[in-house]
Symmetry: C2
Subunit: 342 residues, 2 copies
DNA sequence: TTGTAAGCGTTATCAG
DNA sequence: CTGATAACGCTTACAA
């Protein structure tokens, strides 16, 4: 406590053992005798010693830090995933670094590995450029990457994701059960895997149920945002023939949509039933409360983090488990209702 | 590219200079001649060299990483603040570590400094225990901490915050201008500085406007959450004499409140006007859209990060600037309306 | 089970 | 302006 941080030498001196022994007592307790261990732990207590991470990293050639790479840190959707990730890392004494792909030079992502800042990476952005991913995949760091939430079909990185396809099917079947036959969809960002999977699910369900397919009922939202929903609402209002129910690529789309058509005089669910996707926190308190597909985002984070830890530790998963899909479930609320017989 | 990361030695060899010169060329370009600099940069390019952060940290005794300490990573409220913080650090080549005070052992916060993981800290949690803060304040790391959003009145750490007091005043004055005289408030977590400041603002405004003070109109929400708002709504419904307008400690409280009273048959703003606080993204799309006090959360993050960087670099701010208060502004929307003359 | 000593890849000091 | 060299604080062969 004399101004400078105590180092391992100080502990060794106090305990009356060598620095090697202190190191062992702390990292591999069962390599030293009970007596020595107590001696060292006591000295650590007395001196207030903490292992210097930089020195440890340099020597062990590992940083004990993981990077979570988001498309946009400002997007609240990811906070619960991050929370899940962090809960795992904290218990493993790993630090969590975060960055987003906005603002960052794309090629600097590889630097996190090159300069030893991170031992691994959880990528939550499906829009990372192919070139960079090829580079990563071919590098020695290829085994230290896990995708979460989104993923890249053309690469073989392991990934943890929700059952987007199944969720979309549940949404359509729910509407079908309520008597709806004219069902539409507002999709998210173009070229986004989630958008594609959810769209595919909607189409599969409709085909299965022998519903007729009206291309006009499929609106390209272009994003997962409130604005996208509001924009879609405007297109919707101009349709001559409208669907009686609509599934959305996200809760934000659904809310933006409901908000805008309500402003224009339609009522949900009386005039149209709406299903969201995600079950963000506000969904249950929205007016009307939003029927939606719940994805367990915390679990998503937890699984991704655990998976990455396994990869790094060399505990390889069988190829069959390279893709982990988390079940989703429909939460029925007020935004969907039995189709009124006209 | 032969499997191992190139080190400074390799660059030196290629450039035909000493490692010291390479180091200088990269960190202090003007300490070397133009010619040498080009030589080195070229060699860096050729080898794909990146400075090893662990080695650099060990030698320089600084980590080039900052910790953002949140009360709860899963709370979407903080995502924009984080985004603001990150934007600053990225341009300064600093890494952003995140952690929350849930899950983490409180005393392990100091460890981030002790073990050289972080050079500084932005604390977004006003509930960090006094004991730990005293310890931090008295340590050599006391100058490397900035509070953002929340703060600790009894400590002298610099802080960046919204004008919570002023925001509450604006809310009350807005309602007053609409003709409301019976105004209530639903407060956030007990003992929270934001709760206190906002409450203080409401009271100050009401005093100023000579409004009568009905203690029953002040509901203790106990949290900033949707649930708190819903709970408050239940108390509200049981009042004999009700306020005609209510200000809330947060948007979530407001939405939870509106959602619940709507479910019970009241209408907003016809039966009661409601003002939120924060202007979270959904506020404008809520039904009714929420009149609220907008705080610029991105700016909050940016200022806090910049301030911390100044502190660390030894660019001390005058005491007068130890507390930076960011202006907030009322965004009028549909949840407030002219008081109907009964 | 423990100690000795080398080395992880930088930067900073000191000479030249 | 540049080079040689000594740290920075830890882990891990290798020896004992």
């Amino acid at each position: 406590m004399n101004g400078k941080n105590p180092k391992i030498q100080d502990v060794a001196a106090v305990a009356g053992v060598s620095t090697a022994t202190v190191s062992r007592a702390l990292s591999n307790p069962d390599m030293v005798s009970q007596k020595t261990r107590d001696l060292v732990l006591d000295a650590v207590q007395k001196t207030g010693y903490r292992v210097n991470r930089a020195a440890k990293s340099l020597r062990k050639r590992q940083s004990d830090a993981i990077l979570a790479l988001l498309p946009d840190l400002g997007n609240p959707f990811f906070s619960q995933i991050l929370s899940g990730i962090e809960s795992v890392f904290t218990t493993s004494d790993l630090s969590l670094l975060v960055s987003d792909t906005k603002g960052i030079r794309q090629d600097s992502i590889l630097d996190y590995f090159m300069d030893m800042r991170a031992d691994g990476m959880i990528i939550l952005d499906g829009a990372v450029p192919r070139a960079l991913l090829s580079q990563l995949q071919d590098s020695p760091f290829g085994q230290r990457i896990v995708f979460a939430c989104e993923w890249k079909p053309e690469f073989k990185f392991p990934s943890v994701r929700s059952d987007n396809f199944g969720g979309a099917i549940q949404a359509v079947e729910h509407l079908y059960a309520l008597g709806h036959r004219k069902i539409g969809h507002i999709s998210g960002p173009r070229n986004n895997v989630l958008t594609k999977e959810r769209l595919r699910g909607v189409e599969a369900a409709m085909t299965n149920l022998n519903l007729l397919f009206n291309r006009d009922f499929f609106i390209d939202g272009g994003a997962f945002s409130l604005d996208a929903g509001a924009q879609a609402a405007r297109s919707f209002m101009e349709m001559d023939d409208r669907p009686t129910a609509i599934t959305c690529g996200s809760d934000l789309i659904a809310m933006g949509f409901i908000s805008e058509i309500t402003r224009r005089g339609l009522k949900v669910p009386e005039d149209i039933s709406v299903v969201g996707f995600d079950d963000i926190e506000i969904a249950g308190s929205f007016i009307p409360s939003l029927t939606t597909i719940r994805q367990n985002r915390t679990q998503l984070g937890v699984l991704a983090a655990s998976y990455l830890l396994d990869q790094i530790a060399g505990r390889v998963h069988p190829p069959a488990k390279q893709v982990q899909e988390i079940d989703v479930k429909l939460i029925p609320r007020q935004s969907t209702a039995q189709l009124a017989h006209a």
